[in-house]
Amino acid sequence: MADRTNEAAIRVMRLDKTFGDRKALDQVSIEVRPGEMVALIGASGSGKSTLLRHVAGLTRGDRGQGRVEVLGVCVQAEGRIAADIRRIRPQIGFVFQQFNLVGRLPVITNVLTGALGRMPAWRSLAGRFTLEERRAAVDALSRVGIAETAWQRASTLSGGQQQRAAIARTLVQGAGIILADEPIASLDPESSRRVMEILAAANAEDGTTVLVSLHQVDYAVRYCPRTVALRQGRVVYDGPSAALTPRFLRELYGAEASALIDGAAPRQAPVKPQMPLGPDRAAAVA
């Protein structure tokens, strides 16, 4: 599990990424402490997915000084993915906007793939999962509330159920860190709420560090004590979510702000187990 020394869970240092002549990430630096639940917000095209993919080592940054570390282990540096990336990947659970399940496999097999990184190759290639691994998969499915779908093909699940299966996969993975890329963007409000609550529970109960990108600020405010805001590849705000009033958002984003504010999130009192907020809560707003 995540080691709880003074090591940062996620550390991104001066990361640049250019696609063609477009800067998708511009000198991005962020640090997430173990056990935090942090929202990453920004309008469409602001670089949220790109940043998360860099943290997971799925995409390479530009040559230069950029560097990404997870739990003190280098994921990539100066535009090169670490050679031993597979050693750290089991610690990083990735939840994709499009779920990225294998539609033709049963849900439980999809969830079991979370264990692949820790299995000896002969066992994983032969598909021989141990009884404990299967039990862990069923437990994970129960936790996200879809145990009854275990033997259904993943493609037959609803979007919200698929996303919960994808989270179950990261639970089986035993990842100390969950990166979730707009996990609720294609879901209805009720499913969105459930998915966010599952992430919040993993954070509160297991101490899993969560970095979740959202493009609706109200979800960030409800579930994440801290928010990092991106605009055109640059970090324009990093602080308490509570400070993100519509007025402040308009200051940050100008006309783009409306897309972030007019979210479809249900306006109820937060249901998530409350995490203590950082001491910097009072010192809102830069």
Partner: protein, 264 residues
Amino acid sequence: MTVSTHAVPLSPPLRRSVLRLIGWGIVLGALAASWKGADMRPWALFQDAGNMAVFAADFFPPDFTEWRYYLGELLVTLQIAAWGTALAIVGAIPFGLLSAENIAPVWVRQPVRRLMDAFRAINEMVFAMLFVVAVGLGPFAGVLALFLHTTGILAKLFSEAVEAIDPRPVEGIRATGAGPLEEIVYGVIPQVLPLWISYSLYRFESNVRSATVVGMVGAGGIGVVLWEIIRGFYFAQTSAVMIMIIVTVTVIDLVSARLRRLFI
């Protein structure tokens, strides 16, 4: 708003018509130039119509007296096709994956693709003749011939299926820390399996047809029988064998088409 005054032309641009005309000219020219080489004598069919009628009459009625023997050899033919296809599937899985753009780097992909091109380019009859020399007369030569040629074909079909997969589930597997082989087993194969099965069944159908032919160069099965009775001018028996082949191939095509529909 500016109003466009460009009228849309009602006939295709001149350039396209000219190109089309040139295309047809080339096709017809090539056919005309090939007339002599192909020894085209359509009138021979009519001049010798009398002979043809006599020849055709020799085929009737079909002589089924030796049907047990034919049936046995037909079974051997099916067995040749089954083994040739099975070995080819086993070979086509690695070669197909290694010639897919999204799996193998270019320095692996290109040589493998060229090797598969060679397997495809050489007809199974040619392979059969070579293997008859190498391993002797008989069905095994036929199996090897079908194996090599079909590996070339299936590897190409398999790799095209792999290149058309959705990359996102594979990335989902990769993100868990799985290795490249695990990505293939859990991310790629489940996506391509229905197509692979369908292609394999389809090749089994064609291999049943091919297996009757490779027999004619001595590679076992009903083809050997066919070759012998044709050479001996036993046309009534020839027509019996041909009818049995047609029935077998048709039944297999129908069953296999049914099965394939199940998997798509």
